[in-house]
Symmetry: C2
Subunit: 497 residues, 2 copies
């Protein structure tokens, strides 16, 4: 037993080291590696990835994991959780025949380009054969797993442990019934406002200067992280000791950069506040997509788009851009950054309509993996759902079914976690409110006291607790989407009705 545990520890730390070094290379690829360097890079990474892959499938490792799994009862709580995770991940890998796995990877990399072209040319037909193949592989892989559950539940579980269609239906049924009509009410109540300052010219270096100010407001630890720019903002980390993130700077949309920065700082704060004791275990890093997104959207929307936040920090912003904000009031900003619109894609959606976009794709994914819809019918079904939920019809498939990258990369079951994050955030918010005075803290020079609360309740655990466990322990109840609806209604009623 002890020998097995020692072997398991050795295997884990080696996996960690390979992941570490592949991650560092990934950061370089995403943020600065020159265009012409990627052919050689993929050759070299192929070799290292192969070495890394062996660590997860070698007969020795399989023996260690299986024998410890068989004796789960005798393990301490931490090791038991690790072994459960290791076993789950390993089984999925070893149960898929290597040949099919390789073919599937090839298919994905080809489909990426086919999707890009299809989107550019509004040509769903050129994409649907590959889409169909990707779905077929996923259904086949699910069969190999041999898990007794609905296929879509198995996919959902990959991105959010233990969350099932039952949970998501609870969320989306509520939104359908209550949020869809509420959005109509809000939009009907909107009045035109002067928002020209939103698209004034904001030089990139000054945008970065303000992003740096935001890092201080969020009390980001700069000795253990940094900011850079990239086309698509993201957060990157290898351990709490090294957490980096990017933002983008569009020179005529300063708030795009500001909210990207705050959003990524939410992810980054989570990762920085995890206890280092998890570093060499399988319980390091944030616990799930949904909880991660709850942190980023809590800071971005609940804090970052609040009246108190801008009361406090508008002077900072105005100091950086005195001319652009010469005739702008705090209220102008608060209304502008909370404007509600019927838009065509989630990535540009406001806080209120955001989840309705997610709902569209969720409904379709559920139908696909319940064999209730054909590939040919997807574009039409997409458009109908857009009309039903958002009251807007895509004028073509580029704007509709082809808008997002996820399916071309084989990501089914991931999308719903985007909505889950906001819903988790609201539920956590109402508990936090009972403990600390969020409005008062938001008026302080930085958000340290909010960080501290989140660290104690959520962050420091890393992934040693599941999302469901954390939610239950923090809020004293199971996932309850009513909080999300309540939060949205309270906020937007106050703003608009």
């Amino acid at each position: 037993m002890e020998t097995m545990i020692r072997k398991f520890r050795e295997a884990v730390i080696k996996q960690k080291a390979f992941n570490y070094i592949l991650n560092v290379t990934g950061w370089d690829s995403e943020t600065e590696a020159p265009h012409g360097s990627f052919a050689r890079r993929s050759e070299m990474l192929g070799i290292i990835s192969q070495e890394a892959f062996r660590l997860y499938v070698s007969p020795e490792y399989q023996e260690v994991v299986n024998s410890l799994f068989a004796k789960s009862d005798e393990l301490d709580d931490i090791t038991r959780r690790e072994i459960k995770k290791a076993k789950k991940a390993m089984d999925k890998i070893v149960k898929i025949p290597e040949k099919e796995y390789v073919e599937y990877q090839k298919l994905l990399s080809l489909t990426q380009i086919i999707w890009e072209d299809a989107k550019a040319n509004n040509d769903y037909d050129s994409f649907k054969t590959n889409l169909s193949e990707i779905i077929r592989y996923n259904k086949q892989f699910i069969k190999y797993y041999g898990i007794d559950n609905h296929p879509y539940n198995i996919l959902l579980d990959e991105f959010e442990e233990d969350m099932t269609m039952k949970d998501y239906d609870q969320l989306f049924d509520l939104l359908k019934a209550e949020l869809v009509p509420f959005v109509k009410q809000v939009i009907a109540a909107e009045k035109p406002r002067d928002e020209n300052f939103m698209n004034a010219f904001y030089p990139k270096d000054l945008q970065m200067l303000f992003s740096n100010r935001l890092m201080d407001i969020m009390a980001f630890d700069k000795s253990h992280g940094l900011i850079k720019t990239s086309v698509h903002p993201f957060t990157w980390n290898t351990s709490p000791a090294d957490v980096r993130f990017t933002t983008h700077c569009w020179e005529n949309q300063v708030f795009s950069s500001i909210f990207s920065t705050i959003h990524e700082l939410g992810h980054a704060t989570y990762e920085q506040q995890i206890d280092e004791k998890w570093d060499n275990t399988l319980l390091s890093g944030g616990t799930s997509c949904g909880i991660h997104e709850s942190q980023s959207r809590f800071y971005e929307n609940i804090i970052g788009r609040s009246q108190e936040f801008w009361n406090t920090h508008f002077p900072d912003l105005k100091a950086v851009f005195p001319e652009q904000f010469a005739n702008v009031t705090v209220d102008d900003i608060v209304m502008a950054v909370n404007k509600v619109q019927r838009s065509m894609i989630r990535t540009e959606a406001d806080e209120l309509t955001y989840s309705l976009h997610v709902m569209v794709r969720y409904e379709l994914e559920k139908k696909i993996f319940s064999d209730e819809i054909s590939i040919d019918d997807l574009p039409q079904a997409w458009n109908e759902l857009m009309i039903e939920y958002l009251g807007i019809e895509p004028k073509n498939n580029t704007e509709g079914i082809l808008q997002d990258v996820h399916w071309s990369g084989g990501m089914f079951g991931y999308f719903p976690t985007y909505a889950l994050g906001s819903a988790f955030a609201a539920q956590i918010y109402y508990t936090m409110k009972k403990d600390i005075d969020i409005e008062a803290i938001t008026k302080e020079p930085n958000l340290k006291k909010i960080n501290a609360w989140l660290k104690e309740k959520i962050h420091h655990y890393g992934s040693s607790k599941t999302a469901k466990e954390i939610l239950k322990e923090v809020t004293n109840e199971d996932f309850n989407p009513e909080y999300y609806l309540r939060y949205l209604k309270e906020k937007y009623t106050a703003l608009y009705l």
Copy 2:
């Protein structure tokens, strides 16, 4: 035989992949990794380095290399050279007992900090015990190698294959006899000039703008490389497909940035112009320290500090800094960047006195490894040589024997290659002059034609030829330091006498 060659190829490409990924991490460490991330990094790199190390010492690899080495005669020329290199590197590793090697590495990492403190406190005594230990280890390791040669020759060979004390003595004896008195002549002839523009204020972002201009002048391929800043400028590469370099920007010393950039662009051009066919062999990369340094110093000094270069590019520089150069002529610049001074350290030395600094350390290293000097006597010996060669006496050991990092890192035999680079550059220069009109090309918008000559004669070979072979083939004679003396005398006579 064929099986062995196949196994050798597989081993080499795996070594390449590990080096690749360690190099990418190194670039990150040197240019942006946050301060607080290094403890975790060293833990993770320790594991990967151990995996990499095994590739060089495993019994299977030893068998492959030894058996192919035994049949060298039957190998093609390329593989024979690779096996020779592999055998040499492997033997050095496997002959040192692992325990001693680990102890030595620990000693080095401790000594780094001890040297820093000793330098800061002008306290040679606190450094000498560790210095003495490092030297003892090096002498012991040389014994383990069991090579029949003078110990210092073995160290020299590590940094510059086949170059011996005989070669270096030939160079330094000439400099001692001819350059030392010539420097005195030049310094006596110097007249005071107005050089205030040298220390005007030059904003960093504009310095980087001009560095970018220099990349175009040198025809650097930006799709396969990039520039960043770091405290100590350096060039980094994993293959010709990815060659990066750094420069520094001191705001009151614009020419320090300019010549750092040109110097590193010399190294970078060499690496970019190597044929990709060497990528997966042991013959990739520049062939030796001396040849590498010859390329950087050729561009920096022979081209970059020439009258023609500034005739052509001063308008570019003035466009970036119109106020700072308002009353400055091309001649002012040429004289200022070729000013000769008795200075205390190589890194700040001008082109003419540079090699005399190198000579000081060479003489001492030779004595150390010939057992002709005690550790206690080194500071005094250093000072005496400084007076003899440069006519200047360090006022303490911080300025003298403690000035440089190399010995604390166990680097003996490396220093002389700094002088060799300049001497190689001059010898190559006189051959190039016969083939192409260097002055005319320097007047063109970029230096592509010079790059092309160097690519054909030197660069594309990678390290498939040794420095000595390249010199012989390009210049039609063996290493001949007379060219270096001739170049310096011609240039500085024209400028000063």
